[in-house]
């Protein structure tokens, strides 16, 4: 149903005027829709996190603004938009103002390739998964810039920690996804999901796939700078870390980007390990638009997992963080790739 509406409007678009202008107009419109939808989705994730945190902490959580507090984060966002921007005079103003946009733009760009169903995907490029990793690692530049330009020692320590952390854990994110790509033989997201019609990749690849999944979730959590890897903010150590000197909407960009990044990591995991929009055992194969629900459902379960981490675990120390990556995750990952390659070569894959 949804798909046909989109298709019809697409044809209507192209029939009404010259193709060149219309295709640009269509791109702009889609971009605007994505921006709108995901800003709201990010706000919804913030609310979800707050309700889940409250649930873990014997509290009720926000439940007054709107039904069950649904409008709480909207109200917060409105407050942040209307707030006066305060900052330090001694900051490097150009970089200081630029930093939040790096962070938010990189996380919003990554969303463009996510496949919600077979049809509903803005941008299906043949290097999809590579694009996702590449784009989402631009965000760290924003964090580094923000911490450096704020002219604040706490912010600087936070930013430097972030640089170290993201560079280290990107290796694990990339390598664990590479393990799975040995199975799929393609980087294109739509094809990766097609392959999984014979069983989700976590089933197809069994042992190495499960190892890869665990490594991906650990390093993905670290990539998004969330607890137990929230060295960057570490409020009991650094106050507010790299965004100490930010306020109002600029702070909100950092905040929102964290949640959208979390969604992206969960979405990548859903695509690479749990079949994306495919329904389990193909139960709703005849109704393709239900794929949106399967995709979002799988993603939200993984998002919940990441929130569960955050509200249960203490924070690692910065040297332990690096030990975990370089001494444990990376070697395991390298062995795991060889294992997966052997399995693919010997055809030990489970196919339904």
């Amino acid at each position: 149903m949804t798909i046909s509406i989109i298709k019809n409007s697409h044809f209507w678009f192209f029939s009404s005027a010259a193709q060149g202008t219309m295709s640009i107009l269509e791109m702009v419109l889609i971009a605007l829709v994505y921006l709108g939808v995901f800003s709201v989705a990010g706000l919804f994730l913030v609310l979800l996190e707050r309700r889940i945190a409250a649930w873990f902490q014997l509290r009720v959580g926000p439940n007054r603004v709107g039904f069950q507090g649904l409008l709480q984060t909207m109200a917060d966002a409105l407050k942040l938009v209307s707030k006066e921007l305060t900052g330090t005079v001694k900051a490097d103003m150009f970089l200081y103002n630029l930093a939040p946009y790096f962070v938010i733009v990189s996380s919003l760009m990554a969303l463009s390739v996510l496949p919600f169903t077979k049809e509903l995907q803005a941008f299906d490029i043949n290097i999809g998964i590579f694009f996702l990793i590449a784009i989402s690692s631009i965000g760290v530049i924003g964090i580094l810039l923000g911490g450096w330009s704020s002219n604040n020692k706490f912010a600087l320590i936070g930013a430097m920690r972030s640089g170290v952390q993201t560079i280290s854990y990107e290796l694990s994110v990339g390598l664990s996804l590479l393990t799975m790509i040995l199975l799929t033989g393609t980087l294109q997201l739509s094809e990766i999901i097609e392959v999984q019609k014979e069983g989700w990749l976590i089933v197809q690849g069994h042992i190495p796939a499960i190892i890869a999944f665990m490594i991906f979730m650990i390093s993905g959590t670290a990539e998004t700078n969330r607890a137990p890897f929230d060295m960057v903010e570490a409020e009991s150590e650094l106050g507010a870390g790299f965004h100490t000197e930010y306020s109002g909407m600029k702070f909100a960009y950092f905040f929102l980007a964290e949640f959208i990044n979390m969604f992206i990591i969960a979405a990548i995991a859903a695509i690479m390990f749990f079949g994306g929009w495919l329904s389990p055992f193909g139960i709703t194969e005849s109704i393709p638009w239900l794929g949106v629900f399967w995709f979002l459902g799988k993603t939200l379960v993984l998002v919940f997992l990441m929130m569960w981490f955050r509200w249960t675990f203490p924070r690692l120390r910065v040297d332990q963080l690096l030990t975990l990556e370089w001494k444990y995750l990376l070697p395991i990952n390298l062995v795991n790739i060889v294992l997966m390659a052997l399995m693919v070569w010997l055809n030990l894959i489970i196919k339904v």
Partner: protein, 373 residues
């Protein structure tokens, strides 16, 4: 040639940051001037005085009944034990015979105060190492104790339940029932604490082998309380110089030898069990009798010097009174546990990371108004 020498381009420099007076990890207005090389701490200089209220000077102005009220504001988390210390000092000086009922009630409430203080410490300890949920679990159980206190004397934190000569009011009829309910409740909750934090791998990695304090250093720095006992220095005032009803109960002094942050953590968890057992031994047979012996409206201590020490949740609190025979003390000095324990910080935190410093500070359990009287 310029720039050819190997290290001239990459000269590292130590820098200083101010941790506090407004910082989430210092739990109050303590300012630490840190000298840092990258993440490694080279020097910690505590800077005090942000919450100094001249309590000792004010004591010289006030009567002995009034002094008790001031002690609440020192270590507010063990306010009742502070009150008890001053009352005991005054009673000993006057050589008053205190009824058994008063002694038992003081001990029970003192141990409840200790549990309540340790609950708060546990919650904040978790928060300092990054496990935010512990705070709410600690407060859930602390709330039950505060409710009992509220019913007993009308106040939840700064209690003022003790007066020289006994207690301000008799116990509320519900007291025994509610304390028993709390004891059974809390016995099921300490294992929950262990599951949530003690057994966590990350937590153990963060705390084991961090901030090691040897027994010799503990003694020479004047450390007391759980901090010293984690280093194997047996210094529990309740054991060595029992006061109130503590000579009637049997309990073990929590004693460990590792001296690291994790040992300090475990000592406090063990103390929770010991406090529960002390309460259990006393709660069933609170003797009948007067809750207060009559004293003069204006208490005048005989000429001389008097010292009384008690074990608060943080360590040894000493009250030293010099009296010239008037209604005010000539000089009153508090030996606060937090001050001596804070002096350890530079000794055990140097060489660690910023994260270690936060964990160490959490287990030293600083209450700033106690340090800055």
């Amino acid at each position: 040639m310029e720039g050819t020498t190997k290290n001239s381009n990459f000269k590292t420099e130590e820098y200083q940051i101010n941790m506090g007076p407004q910082h989430p990890a210092t739990h109050g207005v303590l300012r630490l001037l840190l000298t840092i090389d990258g993440e490694i701490i080279k020097k910690v200089e505590p800077d005090l005085g942000y919450i100094h209220r001249s309590i000792e000077k004010m004591c010289e102005r006030d009567s002995y009944q009034q002094i008790v009220h001031l002690t609440d504001r020192m270590d507010y988390l063990s306010s009742n034990i502070n009150n008890e210390a001053v009352c005991l000092a005054v009673e000993n000086a006057l050589e008053l015979e205190i009824p058994d009922r008063v002694k038992v009630i003081r001990t029970i409430i003192g141990e409840l105060t200790r549990i309540s203080s340790h609950c708060l410490w546990w919650g904040v300890m978790g928060m300092d190492v990054g496990a935010l949920s512990t705070f709410f679990y600690g407060f859930r159980d602390r709330e039950m104790i505060n409710d009992i206190f509220e019913e007993t004397c009308g106040a939840r934190l700064t209690m003022n339940y003790n007066v020289p000569g006994g207690l301000m009011l008799d116990l509320h009829p519900n007291f025994v029932k509610r304390v028993k309910k709390f004891v059974t409740h809390f016995k099921t909750k300490i294992p929950e604490y262990d599951r949530l934090l003690t057994g966590n791998v990350i937590f153990q990695k963060r705390t084991k082998g961090v901030g090691i304090l040897t027994k010799e250093d503990a003694i020479s720095f004047g450390a007391s309380g759980p901090v010293a006992r984690a280093s194997g220095y047996s210094c529990d005032v309740r054991k060595h110089h029992p006061y109130s009803a503590l000579d009637k109960v049997t309990f073990n002094e929590a004693l460990l030898t590792e001296g690291d942050t994790f040992a300090r953590y475990q000592v406090r968890i063990q103390e929770l069990w010991e406090s529960l057992s002390i309460i259990e031994q006393l709660i069933d047979n609170i003797p009948e009798g007067e809750h207060r012996v009559k004293t003069n409206a204006v208490i005048k201590l005989p000429k001389g010097e008097f010292y009384q020490k008690v074990e608060t949740a943080r360590g040894e609190l000493g009250v030293y009174i010099i009296s010239k025979g008037t209604k005010n003390p000539y000089r009153l000095k508090f030996r606060s546990p937090g001050f001596s324990n804070l002096s350890l910080l530079n000794h055990i935190a140097v060489g660690g990371k910023i994260g270690d410093l936060v964990a160490i500070m959490a287990t030293i359990d600083l209450v700033i108004p106690d340090i800055d009287r």
